[in-house]
């Protein structure tokens, strides 16, 4: 049973602003049936340029409904510029917190907001503020790959498996939670090809250029001579237990330096691009090191290259 706050339960049991705004100025749809949650956000601007009405329709669990309800309450009365500063953490904080496993519900709220505002700027023919461009119709959050990119790759190269999609676009190579969506896209594209709606795969189509993954150049361990013993235990644990677990997901970890009970590490591979890297540190790396080396250890993730 999830430990939902009273506020989450209140917004779930008594959701505010359910429905669709008529003659909406912006519409944002994120998620999908396959993902297990989806949100359609509509808003209308008043003459004063502030959001006069915002409504939602959500498919998802209690916290997804509560996050959507809270989002509409938070953005009403705000200008678009003010609303664009509402983060997923803000939504979660207003709900007095969400269980860690449910933080993606607040992320969905933020993404729907971005999508709806982007829709607004497109409809108006206005230039889209650049901070809105990043998060639209994202399919793979770990690698920031959009649905369009994946669909394009499938169609242009006749991709047939998730593995191929990952190879071509990186999508699905991290936490794997988008594999359902990729499967759906693969099926959809196959059906379109079979029915002749989509063109056959062109011969010699150019490959999509991949951004290089973070470099994994090893740096020499930096620590005081007196700490050699503890550093040896840390590096051994990283090598034998933690790195293999991360490699299973295409990631890796390297030791950077140690001083005063602070262990500096760098996440590489797919972990380096993953939005959930802080979860990797606090949920896996730190507890293991604390259990087997020293309960006072603090693990710090250093900047990615």
């Amino acid at each position: 049973m999830w430990n939902y706050s009273d506020k989450v339960m209140d917004h779930f049991l008594n959701p505010r602003n359910v429905g669709e705004v008529e003659n909406a100025d912006g519409v944002g749809e994120v998620g999908s049936m396959a993902c297990g949650d989806a949100l359609r956000l509509t808003f209308r601007l008043g003459e004063d340029g502030r959001i006069a009405d915002a409504k939602f329709k959500t498919f998802g669990c209690g916290s997804a409904i509560a996050s959507s309800s809270m989002l509409t309450e938070m953005i009403r009365g705000k200008t678009l510029e003010e609303a664009s500063r509402v983060t997923n953490e803000d939504i979660a904080n207003e709900l007095d917190g969400l269980p860690r496993e449910k933080m993606h519900c607040s992320v969905m709220g933020r993404e729907a907001l971005e999508a709806a505002m982007l829709d607004y700027y497109k409809r108006q023919g206005k230039e889209v503020p650049c901070h809105l461009l990043a998060g639209t119709s994202l399919l793979c959050h770990c690698f920031q790959v959009t649905k369009e990119t994946v669909r394009d790759a499938i169609e242009r190269h006749g991709l047939e498996t998730i593995e191929e999609v990952t190879h071509f676009t990186k999508a699905g190579g991290g936490c794997e939670s988008c594999h359902h969506e990729i499967t759906d896209l693969l099926r959809e594209c196959q059906e379109r090809r079979a029915s002749g709606v989509a063109p056959a795969v062109p011969a010699g189509a150019p490959l999509i250029e991949l951004a290089p993954l973070a470099a994994t150049v090893a740096t020499g361990p930096a620590h005081a001579p007196a700490d050699a013993a503890i550093v040896a235990r840390i590096t051994e644990l990283l090598a034998t237990e933690i790195a293999p677990a991360l490699r299973a997901d295409g990631g890796d970890i390297e030791f950077v330096r140690y001083a005063d009970l602070r262990v500096h590490v760098r996440l590489t591979g797919s972990c380096a691009a993953c939005r959930s890297s802080s979860v990797t540190i606090s949920g896996l790396v730190e507890p293991r090191l604390r259990e087997f080396v020293d309960p006072r250890l603090v693990v710090v993730e250093v900047g990615r290259r």
Partner: protein
Amino acid sequence: MSADGRQPGLLEGLPPRPAAGIYFDNNATTPVAPEVVAKMVPLLTEHYGNPSSMHSFGARAGDEVAVARQKVATFLGAAQPSEIVFTSGGSEGDNLGIVGTLYALPEKRHLVTTEVEHPAVLGLCRELQKRHGYDVTFLKVDGAGRLDPGDVEAALRPDTALVSVMMANNETGVLFDIEAIGKIARAHGVVFHVDGVQAAGKLPLDLEHLPVDLFAISGHKLHAAKGVGALYVRKGTKLRPLIVGGHQERGRRAGTENVASIAGLGVACDLATAGLERENVEVRRLRDRLEQGLLAAIPDCQANGDPAYRLPNTTNISFRYIEGEGILLLLDRAGVAASSGSACTSGSLEPSHVLRAMGLPFTLTHGSIRFSLSRYNTEAEVDYVTGVLPRIIERLRLITPFNEQRATF
């Protein structure tokens, strides 16, 4: 929206919540029968001896374990009580049956199981594959959750050590043809392990006359305590222990016996035998009444799994366009306990592997609810649920962006 422009709450206007909760989640765990509690308490407070001790405290405890072993053997239809090994529950029974067999047959490197097993078996088989180099064949099921025994035969190889399948599926209640599969395994000289956790207490069992070598049951699924179970090991089956360091259970499972829980399991087995007809007549009637009532009252839903060949107490129903956790939260507020195959209730973001293996689309897996009844449920409870759930579903469907015209973005 109501006349004053305010949206009604999701629970508004529902009938008053019943004073005592309605428990329709008996495949997760069951209430301990009062007769079982009465048996257990004196064994914790007065007769607390260790069966291995050389005094009358120990002798009394040893007698209780022996009586329980006989009861469990009778319940399962085992040829003799020595075929019963007491365990900590279903997961241990499955692990002991499977790994104990592999230990005993080190030259054999292949296993056959199905995609719809309980995690106790599925997770173990994946582990054996990943970390111990075993080859595992995971058999598929059809859209109704059925397994073709011919697929088992086709998967067997000269180095196959063991076939492991469940007798009844915990999520859908669908039954596998244990007799047909067992005959195939036996004809090929392959050990046959059955996860019988959900079947025990709901179906008649006669293991002596079934081609089954190993059969795991769990106490808390049949009104005994949590933390106790049993593994049936047919006489002559080679099995190495997982827990070593003591002579208990004839060297097959070390550790001082969980005397009170074991004695309680014995009583629960007696009660289960006595209640079998009720389970298959009255509980089945209640389950059918619930299922038919819900299917008739709610549009866009379907029952999952082979309706003809399944447990008498289980129904698994998918409600399109909405997600299971919301349904469960509202049911809970309305005093009703059930479970869901939705991703959100598991914390894993993955919906039910059983429904996915059956090829159900996401709109049916995320909105699936399992109701599992027991002999303690009543018709009044069923009628309350068929009254309250349609309104819960209706309200959640007012919130969802999906419907018949638009099944996904």
